[in-house]
Symmetry: C2
Subunit: 410 residues, 2 copies
């Protein structure tokens, strides 16, 4: 895919420190792409805890079902991720191919197959060339390197126009721990080529129950609050691995005050990765932030925000810098959540447009249009019902989206 880099891309891939207990390698199987890596191996030290959040799709892929079972056990020794073939809708063969991959990696690392997390992203409905994956694993093992973050991030991309990484450091009871991770995705889904995958690592020592709660809550405020095209993937996977090498004090519950900083920094990394996915949204020229206040609950606020961020009419209006705010009102109305039409408040770019269910007196469209011509468009809505609030992020809908998704597969 020779797509131009998104105009919303960050300047460069971040410098992510080595995280003790994690090493990466990337290689090329050629199963779909030429002249680029398409297979990633992440090795995790013995004792690493792993938490996961997965797609709720009823047609979830074989690798997702496998990972869900492994995440329940909560331990992991490696992750194997390939790009180009999603191993989805591949029947019993698909499940067998995941098992074969896991068994091969387990044999190399001397662990149980259940300790291997497997993800696949790419085209749906074609059998995974599993022999190619298995044959490539020993070579990858030989190259494992704690510094190979960017190579790993690149190897899992599909229609992405740039690799996505993020890092932060946090203190747990006086001990510094590092968080680092990478993600891929350019639509919530483009099932022949792209799905959302994210892998986050830390040297913190955290039991899996705590890790799982932190990840679930962080995912709700990041990956579950973004949208490119409203299409949810069959393969969405977010994994968080904690090697414990930092040697912080023992933590037994997610509510421990010692986790306050770690939780905040983890959320920062998750949100950074999630926003990098939106910023690489297929055809995206603008990032849209929708802040919803006054909803019945935070869940209701998020649903309203996603209804706005997913509305093709709002997205095309943003693309055109058209201050056509009636489309936002309609998108709020269709969300299926409570909104008090006659107490609603609406603004764009910090400029109040409507209040108490009608436009403000002397409303001037010019500064709103000016704001909408920029790369970052902020929509603020108060639905006048309660105290629920949420922020969601999306991107505009442009000819680029049609170009990318409406062309024959090559």
């Amino acid at each position: 895919m020779a797509l131009a880099v998104s105009p919303l891309a960050p300047e460069r891939f971040p410098d992510i420190p080595v995280i003790p207990g994690v090493r990466f390698a990337a290689g090329c199987t050629g199963m779909r792409y030429r002249n680029r890596d398409d297979l990633m191996l992440a090795e995790l030290a013995p004792g690493t805890t792993v938490a996961g959040v997965f797609t709720r799709s009823a047609t979830a892929s074989a690798p997702v079902l496998w990972c869900r079972a492994s995440a329940k056990r909560g331990r992991g020794r490696a992750m194997v991720v390939n790009a180009g073939n999603a191993n989805t809708f591949t029947g019993s063969r698909g499940a067998a191919d995941v098992k074969t991959t896991a068994a091969a990696a387990a044999k190399l690392l001397g662990c149980a197959a259940a300790d291997i997390f497997v993800s696949s992203t790419g085209i749906i409905g074609q059998r995974l060339p599993v022999e190619t994956v298995v044959a490539a694993l020993p070579g990858l093992q030989a190259q494992l390197d704690g510094k190979a973050w960017e190579a790993a991030a690149r190897a899992i991309t599909t229609t992405d126009t740039y690799p996505k990484g993020s890092t932060a450091q946090a203190k747990i009871g006086g001990v510094t721990v590092t968080i680092g991770g990478f993600a891929k995705g350019s639509g919530m889904i483009a099932p022949d080529m792209a799905t959302m995958l994210a892998y986050v690592f830390t040297d913190a020592a955290l039991p899996v129950r705590v890790l799982q709660q932190l990840l679930r809550e962080g995912a709700d405020r990041s990956f579950n609050s973004i949208t490119v095209d409203s299409d949810t993937s069959t393969s969405d996977t977010l994994l968080l691995a904690a090697t414990g090498k930092a040697g912080n004090k023992k933590i037994t519950r997610a509510g421990d005050p010692a986790l306050k900083d770690f939780r905040a920094k983890l959320d920062t990394v998750l949100l950074d990765l999630a926003l990098q996915i939106v910023r690489d949204g297929e055809g995206a020229q603008k990032l849209i932030t929708v802040r919803v206040n006054g909803a019945a609950s935070s869940q209701a606020a998020r649903k309203i925000g996603l209804s706005v961020a997913n509305s093709p009419l709002v997205k095309t209006a943003v693309a055109a810098a058209d201050a056509n705010w009636g489309r936002i009102v309609a998108a709020v109305g269709k969300a299926g959540e409570k909104a008090n039409r006659d107490r609603m408040k609406l603004g764009i770019g910090g400029i109040l447009i409507a209040r108490n269910g009608e436009p403000v007196t002397g409303y001037d469209e010019a500064p709103v249009t000016q704001h909408m011509k920029g790369r970052d468009v902020v929509i603020e809505i108060d639905v006048g019902v309660g105290k629920g609030r949420a922020t969601v992020w999306g991107c505009d809908l442009t000819h680029g989206y049609i170009e990318i998704n409406g062309s024959y597969r090559s």
Copy 2:
């Protein structure tokens, strides 16, 4: 709007017979458009029963709230519909403007204001020039004509590229009754310019409770089963008026066997109008029919069908005649309804593609691609769970949609 007529348009507006008790007039107020009619008056004979189905939007327009109240009373003497201004998000003034319009029409016709149904479609958030509407009403009254179906249908359009009408005759206990109606809409919503409105008339004599049940059930299988862009309007309105002039035998319940033919013909008219809206979907080049079988219920089947018909990735694949059926699998998966991935069956254009959760042996893509190059694309899905079935209709997503909605308002 100088849009080219949709390639999916019917050859011509149908010949709809005069329905005793119903007369129409159309006129030009110039509130938004030049050189075309934008105001429609439909006069109904005394004793006419009226049923209505309206948008579920939480930001429903002032006219919708007014009509909902009048439909509860179940009687009507006229409908007044303007195009170009939706009278939505206009605060207490909006409600007052509806009342002023209804009162003026009621005075002309010598009835109660509550007997007047008022609809508005067009831009959101601008005050309706109600004086212009009121001033035009006497001229319209003078022109009322039972044959003016097409003029009435044209007057209520916004971004529509053709007027939409339909008719049928049915027998009720040996008496022939006529059904005729028209609709407008080119997206489920394009709130600055287009919303879905439909008006259906019959000379059958039917009590309002029966009428309401027939309409609600028919709407579920027609208007509630179509989508252009997943955006639900603040103004969606469907009214059915029965003048009783046919003099059929007294009917007291919707389950009366004498209504079998009428119900079938009414459904035909509702579906014909609904499909004409999809065929005029903004930028549409192809009609997509999605047939879902094997769902947990008919509601679940409809939700799955709409998830497929609304998926931007499915819509762009259809636009490109790309047999990328993995996108359909993903759209089924995200619908939030039960689907048995390993028992799913999928076909396009009558060609079986996948069964038992994997592609059929020897699947040949060529005839599927050939089918998808046509104007009518049929997708069939069995989700392998139960006996629920539904059919929904949508259209493809093309550059034309972006052109129409992503340009500055003129």
